[in-house]
Amino acid sequence: MTALIRYSFATLLHSQRYLAPVLLFAGLIGILTVNGSGSLPPAYAASAGALFVSQTWLTSALAGLDDPTQRAVVVLSAGRGARVLAATVGTALLAAGALAVVGLLFPLWIGSYQVGAADLLLGAEAQLTCALAGTAIGLLCSRLVFRRQGYALATALALVLGLLFVQGLPPVNRLFHLMSETSDAAALLAPAAGMAAVSAVLLAASACLTHHLAARRD
């Protein structure tokens, strides 16, 4: 698995396809959290939202990097297609981890917030929730499932906007709604963990569906 993740990272870095989603992320957290003050949860909701959108794009790009014939070579080298898909998910989540650290620290550096341990923990949960949900959508809207990029993009956009803006829809919108309304981070830790769990289930379902659809195409 380590070898597959190393390979994925190498191809991602060499292809430079990571650049656009990372720039989008940087731009979004800059706009959404600069010069903020007061309680931290709303700022962390914004930076988690930036991660959600960027992570969808990044995962979709990562999953579609290899040409189908090259993917066939990698699948036979690894022994099983599921292992290659798992490595894609692993690589995407590792990349999200790096972005999440920036998402957690940038608001502290650029704004003047009241920081507590509970705030940081809630922020981390929010980042995790959005990383998992973004990976779930990105995987499903990749070249593995969609032959044509236009359809993949339209589907991804619909799903991302749906999760962001449909009132009360878990995990993303519901979590952001909670975070924007309260300044007591400690009270939100449990519900946020629940949302992260929902996201994890979403990712598992998306990976299974992607694997099934990709295999059916072969």
Partner: protein, 334 residues
């Protein structure tokens, strides 16, 4: 390894393969021939386990499968060595082992540019060599080669045949596709013809085609057009390496000239290798092999027109393989 009444269709499309039962024993080399789009590649994908049959079963597939795709599109920016090292690690080798094995294979297959050439800079033939290398990083128990000869130079043909023989000798199975004589001259123990989505015994496809050979008359580099009268045949160098490549049936040395009889599909490759080596082509002639009787001529007609239909009907699918029209002897020496 065995397929039992395997059929394949994509979605609700037409059946690409129907009722294919084939036995691929360990230690054997099995060839699948057929025209473009006959379903050869699909059959190989089924055998490799890349694709699931819509009907029937594939049983007894070994664990370690090496696969050389038809069109190889690796990540462009990696170097040959880097790419092979990554794939070696994915196959379970340690980094030093993977690197060592990759270097050995790059050397053996003579990848131009060496280990540090970026994959995007490689020509089709060299990319094909990298594709072959990745399939051999770990000794495969099943080696699946889709059109492995395409793009390879004649010197690599020999290595490819050696590699296939080695895998078979180690108890592995080798399956490959081709659509011409190049594949026939290889070491295949069994051959099948894929046509219309079904499997047929190979050998009855076109007996006419198999009797055709191309005669190449080549002049040594630096030799004057007229051989000096003095008999210094002791200075004649040994036959060049391409004259021993697969497909060459006979080699006749006439001092300054070399006359080769080559199976038609290989003639282009041999000629190209010779030209690269500095040799000159004096004539290229397609003729029927002397061992068999020539096909009965058609109705009487002028000599100039008997040759033309002869050539046209020759190889409908591979017309480009015929390097020159027949009866070029009159071209003479340059």
């Amino acid at each position: 390894m065995q397929t039992q009444s395997v059929g394949k269709r994509y979605g609700r499309g037409p059946w690409v393969l129907e009722d294919v039962t084939v036995h691929v024993p360990a230690g054997e080399i099995v060839a699948f021939h057929g025209r473009n789009g006959s379903g050869k590649s699909t059959l190989l994908r089924l055998l490799a386990g890349l694709s699931r049959p819509s009907r029937g079963t594939v049983t007894g597939r070994p664990a370690v499968v090496g696969y050389v795709p038809d069109r190889f599109r690796p990540p462009e920016r990696l170097t040959a060595l880097g790419y092979l090292t990554h794939l070696g690690r994915i196959r379970g080798l340690t980094t030093p082992d993977a690197r060592r094995r990759a270097r050995v294979l790059i050397d053996r297959l003579a990848v131009a540019g060496g280990p540090h050439a970026e994959l995007r800079t490689l020509s089709k033939g060299n990319a094909q060599k990298v594709a072959l290398s990745q399939a051999l990083l770990v000794q495969p128990e099943l080696l699946v080669l889709d059109e492995p000869w395409s793009g390879l130079d004649t010197s690599a043909h020999g290595v490819l045949a050696e590699v296939m023989a080695e895998v078979a000798a180690a108890g592995g199975s080798v399956v490959f596709t081709g659509h011409g004589e190049s594949a026939r001259t290889a070491v295949a123990g069994r051959a099948h013809l894929v046509a219309g989505g079904r499997l047929h015994p190979y050998g009855h496809e076109s007996p006419r085609e198999q009797r055709q050979v191309t005669e190449l008359v080549l002049q040594r580099p630096g030799a004057p057009s007229e051989l000096p009268a003095s008999g210094d045949s002791s200075r004649v160098p040994p036959p060049p390496p391409w004259s021993r490549s697969p497909g060459v049936l006979t080699v006749t040395d006439h001092g300054a000239d070399l006359v080769l009889a080559v199976v038609c599909a290989e003639a282009d490759a041999v000629l190209l290798a010779a030209l690269r080596d500095g040799w000159s082509a004096l004539s290229v002639t397609r003729r029927t092999a002397p061992a068999t009787t020539a096909p009965a001529p058609g109705p009487p007609s002028p000599p100039a027109t008997t040759a033309a239909p002869e050539r046209r009907t020759d190889r409908p699918a591979g017309a480009s393989r015929a390097p020159a029209p027949p009866s070029r002897r009159e071209g003479g020496r340059r």
